[in-house]
Symmetry: C2
Subunit: 421 residues, 2 copies
Amino acid sequence: MENYQVGDLVYVKTKDTQYRGIVMPSLEEDMLVIKMENGYNVGISKERIVSIEKIDRGETPRYKKVGITPKRREDLKNISILSTGGTVASRVDYNTGAVHPAFTAEDLISTFPELLEIGNISARPLMNILSENVLPLHWKRIAEEIKKEVDRGAEGVVITHGTDTMHYTAAALSFMLDTNIPVVLVGAQRSSDRPSSDAPLNLISAVIAASEPIKGVYVVMHGESGDTFTYLHEGVKVRKCHTSRRDAFRSINTIPLAKIYPTSGRIEYLRDVDRLEGEDPKVEINTNLEEKVALIKIYPGIDGEIINYYIDRGYRGILLEGTGLGHAPEAIFPNIRYALDSGLLVAMASQCINGRVNMNVYSNGRKLLELGVIPCEDMHPEVALVKMMYLLGNYPLEEAKRLLTVNLKGEIKKSTRFDCY
Amino acid sequence: MENYQVGDLVYVKTKDTQYRGIVMPSLEEDMLVIKMENGYNVGISKERIVSIEKIDRGETPRYKKVGITPKRREDLKNISILSTGGTVASRVDYNTGAVHPAFTAEDLISTFPELLEIGNISARPLMNILSENVLPLHWKRIAEEIKKEVDRGAEGVVITHGTDTMHYTAAALSFMLDTNIPVVLVGAQRSSDRPSSDAPLNLISAVIAASEPIKGVYVVMHGESGDTFTYLHEGVKVRKCHTSRRDAFRSINTIPLAKIYPTSGRIEYLRDVDRLEGEDPKVEINTNLEEKVALIKIYPGIDGEIINYYIDRGYRGILLEGTGLGHAPEAIFPNIRYALDSGLLVAMASQCINGRVNMNVYSNGRKLLELGVIPCEDMHPEVALVKMMYLLGNYPLEEAKRLLTVNLKGEIKKSTRFDCY
């Protein structure tokens, strides 16, 4: 019955029904996966199959299995890929239709041998978790492993990551790392064994970016819903803004740094990027984080006692995700005052997401400033939260307050751009 | 010294400095406000003025004071404007530069007599609060006052409102009102005594919308940063997405209903709108709300005990603003289970803001569904929160759960549009 191979057009009969489509690679021995004409994949348990008729011989499968330690090329940079899990390194369970993390970094290279034309790739798995389960302790581990890679000669590092919290991790690494090489986080919105997956182009783009003479922490994801280009985003100015689109990630309050055309390998810079050439790759890490920082999103009728709850639990910082230019209901001012009197760092970002906090315009904001609330400028809430964790983990309160409004890693832009809303 | 009037070009000397500009209307007797060539207004205490030289006589001021009860025109609809406060009805305190709520609805009509060409306008102030201080009890009061206006013959109602929480109020009114006339919320991002104010065009557009044969609750705000057109948004599909731009409000997961060109009075519908003609205006209100509903935004490292806190405080609903397609860290699953076991309604919206919650794709979402978490479809978090308050205020738990995923007022769209991200 196994008279077919990946890529063949087949006609499959089961006890109940029939399917016509192209044979896809399957990770489960007992499942046949075919892509139907409507574009959907279907997984058929081999037990259920009565007959398989080969209608047409398929092309050679696009990706061949290759070894992962090919000969080193002097003209290419050493790029390390560290996988952490998520859709970019996941597969569909065709029994249930759910997506599970599965591929290791080695699998990725086997699946996308084009990567070996861009860099001297080494790859290893760090962890295998969906990004909704990523914790600050994982940020620390990723930072430590990046350092190991650089110490071993990596000139660029790619981190494959689930998209749900990739922007939090990117912000954390931005503050924790001091490096002169590129560290590029990359994810995917469709798992890499789906024909519509964005994983190949995103991953290839990430390796292109990691080979560039730039430094710092970046995120690479699709730039539009097609497969034309990807964007290189600053790690401290990017956010997942759509649940499902391939171009879910957007730069906030700035434009992306570059467009990457993965099929041609071209990279088009859209604004100045921190560049550093001719130095030995290095990275210093500071993994001190204060995890007792809470994010509270403001809404009409919110109970201010929630602030007291965090004070009582020993929290050291509270980020208010306020309304508009950075406001909160006056009803919770006594709680905010109590938090400040208790020695907490209380800061303000906006739930508008776009734009800059400006607490000088309205009386509400002025009163909050007078209380001692720190305005987070044009940082979106997720970045402000992570920066507070970093500052409170490393500095005394007053210095943390001061540094929160100082640009450290590109997270605060002096002027607001109006072409990026 | 008072040899000048509003509109004149003057040269003002004070003890310290000098100014050249156009005399603007001032609400404080002891302040002279002039608009300088750079576009900024400056307030000068008359005590400080040494001399004022009139350089050029200005044009007649654009807006004349008019009475607010002009003769009723049979060809126009009866439109009630109710003011609640906010920037659209605010003025700058030139002593401090801060903005305070000040204008009443009557002031608005005096300032914008064009309104009287669009409808038979009556106006009265309801309250005078900045929208960051608006509470569910204010939503109820606004609903009750809208009913009073309709009972008195209003055929369209405009609510002027601060922008910070205008979308929460719009959602609340959408659920609380059952009406066959338009109720239009309108705000402004620049106070109405600033030359750059968006208040006039927004307010005129709102009255245009309130005169249309449409029904339901809407929001009208600038459609771009210029003064060309405004957008008519569905009250349940709109959100403040920028801290400061005039076009801060955006329709989420749908396009706006219409473009309004306030200078010509033209309205261009972009999709189908609920229309009803030839019936007597009516409104039924249901102001039952369960205020003990909490919004919790998920982030890496969030302490699940916060859920227990709300359970212990007698909360009846928790909206999780999860990551991606609707996920939460597995570490807090026991707390979520405890909330569900305690009889709370626990629902899931996405902090991506755009897109639809789909908890069938990944194992994390599936487990949450199995626990009993209700997915909020394509409702953005603010609307989902308000809908939970409404449902839990009116229905037993199981019916509230069921209705949360049923479209009641346009808040859930069956298909996701891809032209509105």
